[in-house]
């Protein structure tokens, strides 16, 4: 009784529903496994090609003020003020004279985008603070930017971690203006927004003052492991 299937002109297939649900399913898979796939693809192609893919390995540049403050490296000054014994005004050469720390880390934005294998170089924030001499009343830091809008905060304990830098090199080159040059903060154990660009001043204060992104809803303590307590998580 086996007969060849006769095409039935009245037969319809729910193609629309299948395509729609298929797209939603693929999207969900991409959310769950996209980070892993992206990492593998980036490794396979090398970061040069990987950064050309949409959504792959590239920095998203934020400007909260409407322009990038351009400060010539020779004119750069970092003011260290507040509850310190010796208020300082440091040049780029002063910072470079401090012991240099090199780090290679994945730059991770709190909203999701990440760039693996970013090279950083700078002075430890701890060394800058020790040069100024933090007074006993100073328990927190307030960072200011040349863009006059962005601010950031750290507790003194966070600021004294080994991988918190006053960075002047990134990606094996002097910091470019779009990445916050000539000098920016780099807080390696926290999400990207804590690493304030175009660092102009460090003020030692008594208590944490939430910064620009914190006022816009981001956690004051943005540890990469997801914890938001001020205490340094174990392993950092």
């Amino acid at each position: 009784m086996a007969t060849a299937p006769v095409p039935d002109p009245a037969r319809t297939v729910n193609v629309g529903r299948r395509v729609f649900l298929g797209m939603v399913g693929l999207g969900a898979l991409g959310v769950a496994f996209g980070a892993a796939v992206q990492g593998k693809v980036g490794q396979a192609l090398g970061s040069g090609v990987g950064s050309l893919l949409p959504g792959g390995d590239q920095f998203t540049i934020y400007s909260v003020s409407g322009s990038f403050p351009t400060v010539a490296p020779h004119a750069y000054r970092l003011h260290v003020t507040g509850l310190v014994d010796r208020p300082l005004t440091l040049t780029l050469a002063d910072l470079q004279a401090l012991p240099a720390t090199r780090l290679v880390r994945t730059f991770q934005c709190v909203t999701g985008w990440r760039v693996p294998g970013v090279h950083w170089e700078g002075a430890r924030l701890r060394d800058v603070l020790d040069a100024a001499g933090v007074q006993p009343a100073g328990r927190a830091l307030l960072f200011e930017s040349f863009d006059r809008v962005d601010t950031e905060s750290l507790t003194l304990a966070q600021a004294r971690l080994d991988d918190v830098l006053v960075a002047y090199r990134m990606l094996d080159a002097p910091l470019t203006v779009e990445h916050g040059g000539p000098v920016r903060l780099y807080v390696a154990p926290m999400f990207g927004y804590k690493s304030l660009k175009w660092l102009s001043a460090i003020r030692v204060v008594e208590t944490v003052v939430p910064g620009y992104w914190e006022e816009n809803g981001y956690p004051v303590n943005g540890w990469l492991d997801g914890s938001t307590a001020p205490t340094v998580p174990p392993g950092s």
Binding site: D8, G30, F33, G34, S63, G112
Partner: protein, 246 residues
């Protein structure tokens, strides 16, 4: 009968007022979402434009609103025409699948929309759903693990590019098919056009009297009802009717 009908310059309602309003509201919101996405994506533009937080907020809320015109148009008693078209997007005959796989060389596609148009509509719907979902993960990131945020950013950006390509193609098709584009502006297509491009639909769709506008409901006014109001837009159009149907 068909020959006689072909001689009468009738119009068919392709999109009623509700559908057109939903389409253009969606298009406007899409333009806002794309324009605000440009500086959020490209550092060189962000450098000039700045105002990151404001742009991100506009992008977010325009994106959240993006599916609303369609859903509102679909949901109420006013959505009969749209619901019928959504069923057309969904149900494909074997012939239409063959048409799609052969890019129009084989199979028949006599329905109101050809398989390419149907696929475009479904893709845009699916893409908006996924872009909304991934956007929610990116914005309310605190509720999701970091790997999910990275995956969501990845999917959001890849699909956004695909969406821009597809919508650009949609716009090119519209600009090169003026009769079809006019139906999204004024609602109607000429009967002969419908019989040439969508014969199955032309047979089932009730015709508007010549000169009538595609009204809010899109249904042809009944003869017994009040005389259909002629809008100045419709009055300015009939020059086209002088062309004899082929």
């Amino acid at each position: 009968m068909a020959g006689v009908a072909a001689m009468v310059p009738v119009r068919l309602v392709r999109f009623d007022g509700v559908q057109r309003a939903a389409h253009w509201a969606t298009a406007t919101l899409f333009a806002v979402v794309v324009l605000t996405a440009v500086p959020l994506t490209f550092g060189a533009v962000e450098r000039v434009v700045g105002r990151h937080v404001l742009l991100a907020a506009v992008h977010l809320w325009a994106g959240v609103a993006l599916p609303l015109p369609f859903l509102v148009a679909l949901a109420g008693p006013w959505g009969r025409h749209l619901r019928r078209d959504v069923r057309r997007f969904n149900r494909w005959t074997d012939d239409e699948l063959r048409w799609l796989w052969s890019l129009g060389r084989r199979g028949r596609a006599p329905d109101k929309f050809n398989p390419g148009q149907k696929l475009n509509a479904v893709f845009v719907g699916g893409a908006i759903a996924v872009l909304l979902g991934t956007g929610v993960v990116m914005r309310w990131f605190g509720l999701f693990p970091v790997d999910w945020r990275t995956g969501a950013t990845f999917v959001h950006q890849v699909l956004a590019w695909a969406m821009v390509v597809v919508v650009a193609g949609h716009v090119v098709m519209a600009l090169t098919h003026p009769t079809a584009m006019r139906s999204m502006l004024l609602g109607w297509v000429p009967g002969p056009w419908a019989r040439r491009h969508a014969p199955a639909w032309a047979d089932e769709e009730p015709a508007l009297p010549a000169g009538a506008t595609a009204g809010r409901t899109g249904m042809p006014p009944r003869r017994s009802g009040p005389t259909p109001r002629r809008s100045p837009t419709a009055a300015s159009l009939p020059r086209r009717r002088a062309r004899p149907p082929r």
